[in-house]
Amino acid sequence: MQTLNFQQLWRYQDQLIDGTLHTLLLTLAAAAIGTVIGVAGAAAVRSGPRPVRWAIRGYVELIRNTPSLIQLFVVFFVLPGFGLRMGAFEAAAIALGLYFGAYCTEIVRAGLDAIPGSQVEAGQCLGLTRWQVFRHVVLPPALRSVYPAFTSQFVLLLLGTSLASQISAEELFHTGGFIETRTYRSFEVYAVICGIYFALVMTFKLLFAAVGHLAFRWPVRR
């Protein structure tokens, strides 16, 4: 058996850093898109007009019950046929954003459902608009209740960005493949890549815990 040799990889540190940054960027872009979709989608599923509710339900089911890889291909290869041209990175951000948005819609909806109607009523009785009730009364406690689920889904998204390598978006996994073809050090390359993913996930988990701690300060009974 070959002995392990990480030394060759050292030469590719610029590429590794670049890949890591792209993975980060892709994750954050998709998360931003998906979170906006999730909050808006959940709100609309609960109180939008019927056609909108059906459309969102359809979107959520479609995304959650088909392979993410195919969704990625559709965005990258099929949409340009309709005149929507974009690079691999943009396509990946959009496809993963749509993917994350579907799960977020379900997560946020569960959170909104957990808020008793009496809270909404209390807001209405104070003369607040529907939007003010949603934004100030319902949303914050709803987000708190689904924050752990959101965190897990975010981690899945981060790991899932590796799919973007399949359309040659330059993220970490793709970088790994590139270095491997140059060095033939498969084990070492993917061990390092894996370590980087692991470190990213752990960092985000800490970050989420810290943000949650700051954002959700109010005490709860029992």
């Binding site: 009496s118 209390a122 807001g123 009785c125 104070l126 003369g127 100030h136 009364v137 005490p219 709860v220």
Partner: protein, 242 residues
């Protein structure tokens, strides 16, 4: 002219008629106490006054304006008619101060900078100025209910509705909430309250309304009504309430 004028109001949930032609006047400064058995329609009537429920027939006017769930200035109207519920319904994620100032600030009735002064003012009236920075979960039930009342007072309502506001409280906490309501009554607030506290009804109310099966069965000043109940239904209600 009466502040609240309820004329022949009917209301059904599905096929069950809950209000079967309720008529009632509430004058400015009056303390009207609604009593009656469970299911007689007390909460429903209260919620109709505040346009939380749509009425099927009859009319409710408050300050001369017809109350409807689709009235154009519903939000302004809601600010003039405060309601306090049995379950407090404070916002758990906001401090006492923010619970109180949220609506006045969002509705642009006061500037953000005036919020704390407003909160202190209304909290002083319920004896809780020292709790301004607490969260609801850090307060006892009685304190939470007093904050809920303060939150209502911050809207400067012309009329306040109370639906069994002491029913969820431990017995030893009931007194502090009733005292706040007595103070408000003394200061001339027009109040309609549903309560099982007969002592309070007897001592503070200017008018007692006994509801039975979706109707105003009897009404009158407390001394008269309690001393000489005319209907057997009220007689047995009074007998069972003591």
């Amino acid at each position: 002219m009466a502040l609240v004028d309820i004329r022949n109001v009917t209301k059904s949930y599905g096929s069950t008629q809950v209000l079967k032609g309720v008529s009632l006047d509430i004058k400015e400064g009056e303390i009207v106490t609604i009593i009656g058995k469970s299911g007689s329609g007390k909460s429903t009537l209260l919620r109709c006054i505040n346009a939380l429920e749509r009425i099927d027939g009859g009319e409710i006017t408050v300050e001369g304006q017809s109350v409807r769930t689709d009235m154009p200035n519903l939000r302004d109207f809601r600010q003039r008619v405060g309601i306090v519920f049995q379950a407090f319904n404070l916002f758990p994620h906001m401090t006492v101060e923010r619970n109180i100032t949220l609506a006045p600030v969002l509705n642009k009735r006061i500037a953000k900078s005036e919020g704390r002064a407003l909160a202190l003012d209304v909290l002083a009236r319920v004896g809780l100025a020292d709790k301004i920075d607490a969260y609801p979960a850090q307060l006892s039930g009685g304190q939470q209910q007093r904050v809920a009342i303060a939150r209502c007072l911050a809207m400067r309502p012309h009329l306040m509705l109370f639906d069994e506001v002491t029913s969820a409280l431990d017995p030893e906490l009931v007194g502090e909430v009733l005292k706040v309501m007595e103070d408000m009554a003394r200061q001339g607030m027009t109040m309609v309250l549903v309560t099982h506290e007969m002592g309070f009804a007897r001592n503070v109310a200017s008018k007692i309304v006994f509801m039975h099966q979706g109707r105003v069965w009897e009404e009158g000043p407390p001394a008269e009504l309690f001393a000489n109940p005319r209907t057997p239904e009220l007689q047995s209600f009074i007998a069972s309430a003591r």
